[in-house]
Symmetry: C2
Subunit: 373 residues, 2 copies
C-alpha cells in the first residue's frame, strides 16, 4: 500500500451502517470551521449544548461555539475539569442541572468536544436528558478519534468500577478534524497510536504494513498520514460495531486484543501510572507471546509488533509487579472456570481469535517473559 | 357491556406490540405467587436485583424474593424509602453502587416491585446499569398497574424538574396481581381510578359506561371488576404507545387529557397537597368545560364525568388558588405562541383532540367556572 501523499487532504467520510441508527464520520484537516454547517445540515437545530473539558475548551470552545451560533443556533457551553474523574455521577448531575437551567428541551442537541472522557460523559447526558437527545461528537484526542467516538458506548464510572453506568447511544454524526491533534500532549498522542496498531493486528495486515512504513510521518503528525490512519481505524471499528452493536454476539470482543493484560496492568500499577494506550502496548505484546505459547502465532510477528511499538515510543516491557495481583485481576475480569482465562489471541497479523480456555499458568508465563531486566 | 362476573378470574394477557421490544402484561388475582416461574420462563435468569420501597417491601418483598429464589436465581433485594423523593440522582447512585457491590453483571435482571416511583426508578437503573439490563415490572399501586408500568418511560427527577432524566426502556414483561391493591391506602387507590376514568373519556365510551355501572364494586375493590378495569386500561394505553413509542408523532399526547390543568394545580397547590389522580380528576373537568366553551363538547358529558368522579370520591371542584400562577405554569408547560395554549380537548366521551391554539382567557374561564363556593 503506497503512503498517502502529504499536504492538505480533502475530507472523507466513513459510514457506520446501523439501520435507523446509521450515521457518518466526517474526517478532514482543518474542517472544524465547518462545524456549524455540519450540525445544522444533519438536522434542524435551534439549541445546542456543547460539552468540553478545560484543556480542550481553552483551544477550541470559542471557535466551535461561534461557528454553531453563526447558523442561528442558541449555544449552551458547559466545561468540566479535564481528566477521568469527570466521568462521575456528580459531574453528570451538575451537567443535567446546568442544561436544564439553560432551558434544554427535547429538541436540543448535545455536542461532545473533547477526548474520550468528554465523549463518554456527554454521550451519557445525551442518552438520558429528557429521555434522549440527539448527539454529535467532535473527538479531539487521537484515542477518541480512532476508538471511543465510534460505536455508541457512552457512560460514567462508579468509584469501584469504570464505565459501569451508561447506555448504547449512537451519535447522529461524528466530525473529526485531525488538525486539533497538534495541541494534544505528545504522550497522549503516542498512547492513541497503540490503538491504531491494534486495528492492524486484529483486522488488517496491509494496514499494519502501512504503519510500519510510516513511523516517522506518524511521529510528526503528518496531516495526510493522520487522515489515513484515523479513517482506516474508524472504518475497521465501524465494521465490527455494525455486526455486534450491543456486544451480544461476542464479535465486538476482538477489539479487546491486548486489553485483558492491559486492565491488569492499569489496575495493579495504580491509577495514572500508565496511559491507557501505553498499557495496551504492553498488553498486546503479552497476548502475542501467549499466542506463541499456544502454538498459534509466530515469534517473528511478535517481533514486528515489538519493533513498531518501540519505534512509536510506546512501552514494550512488562514491569515488575506483584504477579498474584495481576492474575487475580485477570481472573475477576474474564474468569470462565477452573483456572481457565479468556483472551483475544493473535493467529497472524490481521487475525485474532477469542480463546476462552487459556490455562492461567500459560497466561502468566507470557506476562513474565516480557519483564524488563 | 355487561359487568364481568365476580369472584376469582383466570389471569389474562395484554400484548404490547413494539417490534423486537414487544412484551406481555399478565394480569390476574393472586398470581404474585407465580413470579419466580414467570421471570424464568421469559428468559434464563441467574441473578435478579429486586427493587422495592419500604411500604411495599413490608407486605410483598419476602414473598417475591422467595418465589424467585425457589427457581434457583440469586436475589439482591434493594429497598428505598417510599415516596417521590426517592426518584433522585442520589438514590439512583446508591442503587447502582449496591447492585455493583452485590456483583451485578450484564446477565443480571432488574425487577421493580412497587408503585410508579419504584417502577420509574428501577427502570432507570435497568436502562443504565452495564449499559442496559433486562427489566421486569410488578406494579403494586393502581396508578402503576394502569399507567406507569405501560409504555417504557423510566426516569428520575432533578430538584427543579420531574422526570427530566431518563430513558425509554421497555420491560421484558409486566406481572399484575390486582390482589396486592388490598393493602394500598384508600386515597392512593381512589387516585388511581381517575386515570382509569381518563381512558374511558379519551378512548372508549363503552368502557366509560362500564365504569358508571360499576361504581360500587370499584369502591369495594371487587377482584373481577378490578381485573377488567386494569386489563382494559392497559390495552388502551398499549395501543397508543404502540403507535408512538417515543412520543414523536404527538399521538401519545392524548393520554395527557386533563393533565395541563393537573400540573398547574399540583404545582401551585404545592407538593403533596393533591395526589396525582386527584389533580387529574379536577383537570379533566376543567378540560371538559373548556370543550364546552370551544363549542365541541356538551354539558351533559361534562356532567357524566362529574357524577362518576364524585361517586369515586375524587375531588371535582377547582380550589381557590392564584389564577395568575395557574396560568403561568400552563404557559410554561405548553406554550405555543402569543397567549395561545395547547390542550387535549374532549369532543365526546371516547374521543379527545389535541388542540394547539386555545386562547388563554378561555382556558382560565374554564378553570374559574369549577371553583368551589
Ligand atoms: N466509548 C468507548 O467506546 C471508549 C473506548 C475507549 C476508551 N473510552 C474512554 O475514553 C477515555 C479516555 O479517552 P482519552 O484518552 O481521549 O482521555 P481524555 O478525554 O482525558 O483526553 C486526554 C487528555 O488530552 C486532553 N485533550 C484532548 N484533546 C486535546 C487536544 N486536541 N488538545 C489538547 N488537549 C487535548 C484532555 O483534556 C485530557 O487531558 C476513558 O474514560 C475511556 O474509558 C471509551
Ligand atoms: N412512567 C410513566 O409512564 C409514568 C406515568 C404516570 C406516573 N408516573 C410516575 O409514577 C409516580 C407515582 O406513582 P404512584 O402513584 O404509584 O406512587 P408511589 O409509587 O409513591 O406509590 C404510592 C404509595 O403507595 C404505596 N404502595 C404502592 N403499592 C402498594 C401496595 N400494594 N400496598 C401498600 N402500599 C403500596 C407506596 O409505597 C407509596 O407510599 C410518579 O413519580 C410519576 O411521575 C410515571
Ligand atoms: Zn483500549
Ligand atoms: Zn397522570
Amino acid at each position: 500500500m503506497p503512503a498517502a501523499n502529504s499536504g492538505s487532504a480533502a475530507s472523507q467520510t466513513v459510514h457506520v451502517p446501523l439501520g435507523d441508527r446509521s450515521y457518518d464520520i466526517s474526517i478532514g484537516t482543518g474542517n472544524l470551521v465547518d462545524v456549524g454547517r455540519w450540525v445544522t445540515s444533519l438536522r434542524s437545530v435551534t439549541h445546542a449544548v456543547v460539552i468540553s473539558d478545560a484543556n480542550v475548551a481553552k483551544h477550541y470552545q470559542q471557535r466551535v461555539e461561534e461557528a454553531i451560533a453563526a447558523e442561528g443556533v442558541r449555544v449552551t457551553s458547559l466545561v468540566v475539569p479535564a481528566g477521568e474523574p469527570s466521568k462521575s455521577v456528580s459531574t453528570a448531575q451538575s451537567l443535567w442541572e446546568a442544561a436544564l437551567a439553560d432551558r434544554v428541551d427535547r429538541k436540543s442537541v448535545v455536542v461532545a468536544l473533547g477526548g474520550g472522557v468528554v465523549g463518554d460523559l456527554a454521550g451519557f447526558i445525551a442518552a438520558t436528558m429528557t429521555r434522549g437527545l440527539d448527539f454529535f461528537q467532535i473527538p479531539t484526542s487521537l484515542l477518541a478519534q480512532v476508538d471511543s467516538s465510534v460505536g455508541g458506548k457512552v457512560g460514567i464510572n462508579l468509584p469501584s468500577a469504570k464505565n459501569i453506568v451508561g447506555a448504547f447511544w449512537q451519535p447522529k454524526g461524528v466530525l473529526i478534524d485531525t488538525a486539533v491533534l497538534e495541541t494534544l500532549p505528545r504522550r497522549e498522542y503516542l498512547s492513541g497510536l497503540a490503538e491504531v496498531v491494534k486495528y492492524g493486528v486484529t483486522l488488517d495486515a496491509e494496514f499494519f504494513s502501512y504503519l510500519e512504513a510510516n513511523v516517522q510521518p506518524m511521529l510528526d503528525r503528518d496531516p495526510a498520514v493522520l487522515q489515513k490512519i484515523v479513517a482506516r481505524s474508524c472504518e475497521l471499528k465501524a465494521q465490527v460495531v455494525a455486526e455486534d452493536e450491543t456486544e451480544t454476539t461476542g464479535l465486538r470482543a476482538i477489539l479487546n486484543y491486548g486489553h485483558t493484560y492491559c486492565h491488569a496492568l492499569e489496575t495493579v500499577a495504580g491509577y495514572g501510572e500508565y496511559l491507557h494506550g501505553e498499557a495496551v502496548s504492553v498488553g498486546m505484546l503479552c497476548a502475542s507471546r501467549l499466542g506463541e505459547k499456544l502454538g498459534v502465532f509466530d515469534a517473528e510477528s511478535t517481533q514486528r509488533q515489538f519493533k513498531l511499538l518501540s519505534a512509536l515510543e510506546l512501552p514494550v516491557a512488562t514491569p515488575k509487579l506483584d504477579e498474584r495481583a495481576i492474575l487475580s485481576v485477570m481472573q475477576r475480569d474474564k474468569k470462565v472456570e477452573h483456572g481457565k482465562l479468556r483472551f483475544i489471541v493473535p493467529h497472524r497479523i490481521g487475525k485474532v481469535v477469542l480463546t476462552p480456555d487459556v490455562p492461567s499458568d500459560l497466561a502468566m508465563d507470557a506476562w513474565r517473559e516480557g519483564c524488563e531486566a
